[in-house]
Amino acid sequence: MNRYLLQRLGLLLPTLLGALSLVFVLVHLIPGDPVEVMLGETASGADKQELRRTLGLDQPLGTQYGSFLVKLAGADLGRSLYEQASVAAIIGSRLPATLELAACAMFAAILISFPLAILATVFPGGWIDRFALWFSLLGLSLPNFWLGPLLMILFSLQLGWLPVSGRGTWSHLVLPALTLGLGMAAIVTRMLRASLLQVMGEEFVRTARAKGLSETRVWLKHTLRNAMLSVTTILSLQFGSLLAGSLITETIFSWPGLGRLTIQAIQTRDYPLVQGCVLVIATSYVLVNFCTDLLYKVIDPRVSYGE
């Protein structure tokens, strides 16, 4: 396990460094003078010079990159141009809301997809199997920027059951979590169903049944566990996508999280804040994928990496 961990770490660090470098390059891609883009053409020369100094843009590119990495190591993401606070503090105040939403969306996706996929496999070719297929196909085709308004029209505006937007009680969480989680539920249903069908045809499942094991034990110990490997990959990849998907869902439901903050920062051209948000989301994504790699080994001890 230690060797496996070291090998995965060996891959993680260059990827993370590459991702950080890409975020650094992003801000330097702003066409023309980034300071002018941020402050507008009418800003005074002194203001521009001050911002240039604050952002370190008056330094050579190599120095800027080195300073960027050194600051990052100290969790210093710079200061927001408009909110008079450090980017790290602003992100820190918004991150819990996004994690709460992503976790609930994932929970909703699992709650929908697992029973559906299992029932579809238990009754192959039946109506529930056909429903599962159509659910996954439609779920994959429904973009969340349409699904969100549809749910809002039905449950908030027509039926009045749930609040339209904001954060506070559990009822505020239902619609954003469903909007964010439904696409994921569709993917997981499809993957888990296919995976279960494949595993159920394997000889070790037949052997388990022939040994006289109870059907529950065959399912829990042999079928589900072996089918989980591919589903774990999807769940982890989707968790990263949930963070990215939160950009749209949080905007629709005015959810005060990192996604909405990113969009607001983009709209106000607060580039240090945009850079910080992108950095945090990308780093989380890389780390979640890293944890998944480690989880593989726990789920299936046969997994090795180039050993």
Partner: protein, 268 residues
């Protein structure tokens, strides 16, 4: 599912949507930019079957023209991403060594970002506009094709017909173009179909966030965003562009699934 039937339904739906989009200048009843403030937020009428928006613009015409943008962005993104992915993937897979290592690390880094986040970040930096959207989507799109092509070439290059071509003295360029590429067409067709659906949704997402096509050009994503303010009084503003987008993606997914079933079956 009976894949051939669903494939036909998907192709038929796609053809219908494509005809509406491509022939929009002929078929659309109004200029999609024509404003008529006296006729704002009409739900349905004989003159405007799908209603009008807050500026009195015809929703049917705008939805048809919006399809042109979606298809244009989707097809451009897929073609460009495919070309880049094919080039890098075949070089990486065929030559191996440090070229393969360097290219695959680059792919890893780009794939370390959730795709839409990178596209949003790029369009935020470069500014909205059709060309920037296509550029941003290509930046995230080519990596999937490169990985696929590399993987396929790695398995194909050890096959006997490639070794025979090598033994006959064929140059790498000829081996890649004449022997390897034809074998890559089926998996690439499947990937391109799903890629087209993904690109159309991504363009919609960017336009929804105000980072895609610039107003007043009609785009399904931007129309959905405009309609959000009028959900209670005019739900039709979000219904029709959303439905058009969903049907397009559904049709592409149906075709992609059917292709996957058919080509995998043939490969077995």
């Amino acid at each position: 599912m009976a894949s051939s039937l669903w494939c036909r339904i998907g192709v038929g739906l796609l053809a219908l949507l494509a005809v509406f989009a491509l022939l929009a200048p002929v078929l659309a009843p109004y200029d999609p930019l024509r404003q008529s403030l006296d006729h704002d937020l009409i739900a349905h009428s004989f003159e405007h079957p799908l209603g009008t928006d807050k500026l009195g613009r015809d929703i049917l015409s705008r939805t048809m023209y919006g399809g042109r943008i979606s298809l244009m962005v989707g097809i451009s993104t897929v073609v460009l991403s495919l070309a880049i992915g094919l080039l890098f993937g075949s070089v990486s897979g065929y030559f191996g060594g440090w070229i393969d290592h360097a290219l695959m690390r680059l792919v890893d880094i780009l794939m370390a970002f959730p795709g839409i986040l990178l596209a949003i970040a790029f369009t935020a930096v470069l500014g909205p506009g059709l060309d920037h959207v296509i550029l941003a989507l290509c930046l995230i799109g080519w990596t999937g094709y490169a990985r696929l092509v590399r993987g396929e070439i790695l398995s194909l290059r050890e096959r006997e017909f490639i070794q025979a071509a090598r033994a006959l003295g064929c140059r790498p360029k000829r081996i890649i173009l004449r022997h390897l590429l034809p074998n890559l067409i089926p998996p690439l067709m499947i990937q391109a179909t799903f890629g087209l659906a993904a690109a159309i949704v991504a363009e919609g997402s960017l336009s929804f966030l105000g980072l895609g096509v610039e107003p007043p050009t009609p785009s399904w994503g931007a129309m959905l965003n405009d309609g959000r303010q009028f959900l209670l009084v005019a739900p039709h503003l979000t219904t029709y562009p959303g439905l058009a987008l969903m049907l397009t993606v559904l049709a592409l997914n149906l075709v992609g699934d059917a292709l996957q079933d058919r080509l995998n079956y043939r490969n077995r």
